[in-house]
């Protein structure tokens, strides 16, 4: 069942500035959809239009089968939102802040207390509940704002760069929290620069560039679009020279770093390359093969875009 349907969404600030250009996509129940793109690709602009923080120039947004702009409050009641770029009023404690948001979502006093305690515990910030929001670190604020997004048991959660500028262990904890919520049936739409995160968390990824959608597929399928792999060998000096000569003779892309040479080859040609190296008398002490990743795909299409 489609919880969100976006059709021909466009945001044009001026004649020469089109932030989002005629994009369409949908979000299914229990799905984690990632929006990937470099700075200025239109990710955050899209999220803000989906929250009515920014008025689209044209296009339609449908939540739960109903037009968003005609049913704004009803829709937002079932949508959570968290962004790294927002903060909370600093003169109130974490608990007081979340209590206000609980009230905005119509939770009664008992529900607010239960939910706030549960979420702060899950996000490992329960000790901060009586601390003023202005005294929190960036990582702590992000987790509190994430708790805010889940207060009203939302069906959809929109996350804008949820782990940006966080320590690795905290970011991992947040990713695990997202996966846990997904298992409970919550749908997610999230933006991130972190390819590893997108691969780990997302069922499907939309790649945006210059306000348009370049690709819409699973992380595995997107990575599969990149046909090259990296074959990395560690060799002694004599063997290194032989392998460079082999690469130049066979017109293979390569890079060297100390005793290491990395060949960029078609992923289906790895076995044949190893046979050829052996036939040329090249022996190595270590070998590693790097399969194409989402990052390789992203780099390949963004570089293609830049060339255009």
């Amino acid at each position: 069942m489609q919880l969100l349907n976006v059709r021909n969404l466009t945001k044009q600030y001026s004649e020469n500035c089109i932030a989002v250009n005629n994009i369409s996509f949908s979000l299914e129940r229990g799905e984690v959809l990632g929006i990937l793109g470099s700075n200025g690709a239109g990710k955050t602009t899209t999220i803000h239009m989906l929250l009515d923080l920014l008025t689209p120039t044209s296009g339609t947004i449908t939540y739960f089968g109903k037009n968003f702009h005609k049913n704004r409050s009803e829709s937002l009641q079932k949508i959570g939102f968290a962004t790294t770029y927002a903060r909370l009023p600093g003169h109130m404690t974490v608990y007081e802040n979340l209590d206000i948001y609980g009230r905005l979502y119509g939770l009664n006093a008992h529900q607010r207390k239960t939910k706030i305690t549960e979420l702060l515990t899950m996000l490992e910030v329960i000790d901060l509940q009586n601390r003023q929001a202005g005294e929190l670190s960036a990582g702590e604020t992000t987790r509190v704002i994430l708790a805010k997004a889940f207060l009203a048991d939302p069906e959809i959660v929109l996350l804008d760069e949820p782990t940006a500028s966080l320590d690795i262990d905290i970011a991992q904890a947040i990713r695990e929290f997202i996966c846990h919520q997904r298992d409970k049936g919550v749908s997610f739409l999230l933006t991130s620069h972190n390819m590893h995160e997108m691969t780990q968390v997302c069922d499907r990824i939309i790649v945006m560039q210059n306000g348009t959608i370049l690709a819409d597929s699973t992380p595995q399928q997107l990575a599969g679009n990149v046909s090259h792999a990296f074959l990395q060998l560690v060799l002694d000096d004599q063997q290194l020279e032989a392998s460079i000569a082999y690469a130049e003779r066979t017109n293979t892309n390569y890079q060297t770093l100390g005793p290491t040479i990395t060949f960029e080859i078609d992923e289906h040609a790895v076995a044949q390359t190893l046979i050829n190296l052996a036939q040329n008398g090249i022996t190595y002490t270590q070998i590693s093969i790097k399969k194409p990743t989402l990052e390789d795909y992203f780099l390949s299409i963004t570089q293609k875009g830049k060339r255009l």
């Binding site: 009515d52 920014l54 903060r87 009023p89 003169h91 007081e96 905005l104 805010k148």
Partner: protein, 262 residues
């Protein structure tokens, strides 16, 4: 409109009050200082005129002017606080609507009005032994007219803040005071040049301060006509200012509410 969302916003701002020294001091310190300064200025002027009315008029009108200024600040500072806290995106990504925010501001304003009035009345009684409440029930419509005037100014200022953000935040403290010279709060408008007197007649504030003068000076005061004129004007101004605020909010959404940060 949902009551629980309106009340949530009232609680949000009232809850912050005890721990927000800046806001608390602006509510208590400036009214106190104004009452002290103008009370003694009035006493000094009375020694020349051999009357005892200047001080009473000044003190009463200064108290009423505090109601205007605090109602004005109440609206514009509520908005600025959300901008300073980077909280606009958080708030308006919930089901909260702009009309609910306006209602919450109105209710919070009434609560603050009661608090500030009680504080000022107590200070005036404590310093000068003068009970403003002795003016009777006429005070209620006069105070409410001042309160609505302050709200109108606040919504006008907020309509600029919601579009241009904190970079024009000084206007929050400036705009209200533009009306002080022509309000009749600190002096009768008869001392003003004729053109400014004309301006004053188009302001509801003038009808409130003039009503106070009548209450203090006339033997059988009846400021009904003055108040009717004042309320006719304020209903138009308040409607226009709220309409402008909502329009500017929608214009601001075209550029994105997320850009409203300090």
């Amino acid at each position: 409109m949902k009551w629980h969302r309106i009340w949530a916003m009232v609680v949000r701002h009232l809850r912050q009050l005890p721990s927000d020294f800046n806001k608390l001091s602006s509510i208590v310190y400036w009214p106190f200082l104004d009452i002290v300064i103008f009370g003694f200025v009035g006493s000094w002027v009375d020694t020349f005129t051999m009357l005892d009315t200047t001080r009473l008029i000044l003190i009463t009108n200064v108290v009423l002017w505090q109601i205007v200024v605090r109602a004005d600040f109440g609206v514009s500072l509520n908005l600025l606080e959300e901008i300073w806290a980077h909280n606009i995106s958080n708030l308006f990504s919930t089901p909260l609507t702009i009309w609910e925010w306006i209602c919450a501001t109105f209710i919070e304003g009434i609560i603050m009005l009661l608090g500030i009035t009680a504080f000022c009345v107590a200070v005036v009684y404590g310093l000068y032994g003068y009970n403003i409440l002795s003016l009777g029930l006429w005070l209620v419509p006069i105070i409410f007219l001042m309160f609505l005037s302050g709200l109108s100014i606040g919504f006008f200022t907020s309509s600029l803040l919601i579009y241009w953000g904190a970079r024009i935040q000084t206007l929050a403290w400036m705009i209200g005071w533009i009306f002080a010279p022509v309000s009749g709060a600190y002096h009768p408008i008869t001392v003003l040049p004729e053109c400014l007197q004309t301006v004053a007649h188009w302001l509801p504030l003038y009808y409130a301060t003039e009503s106070i003068r009548i209450l203090l000076l006339d033997e059988n005061p009846n400021p009904t006509m003055l108040l009717l004129k004042g309320y006719s004007l304020i209903l138009v101004y308040l409607s226009l200012c709220i309409a402008l605020f909502v329009t500017m909010f929608n214009f601001s959404k075209r550029r994105g509410l997320h850009r409203l940060k300090d």
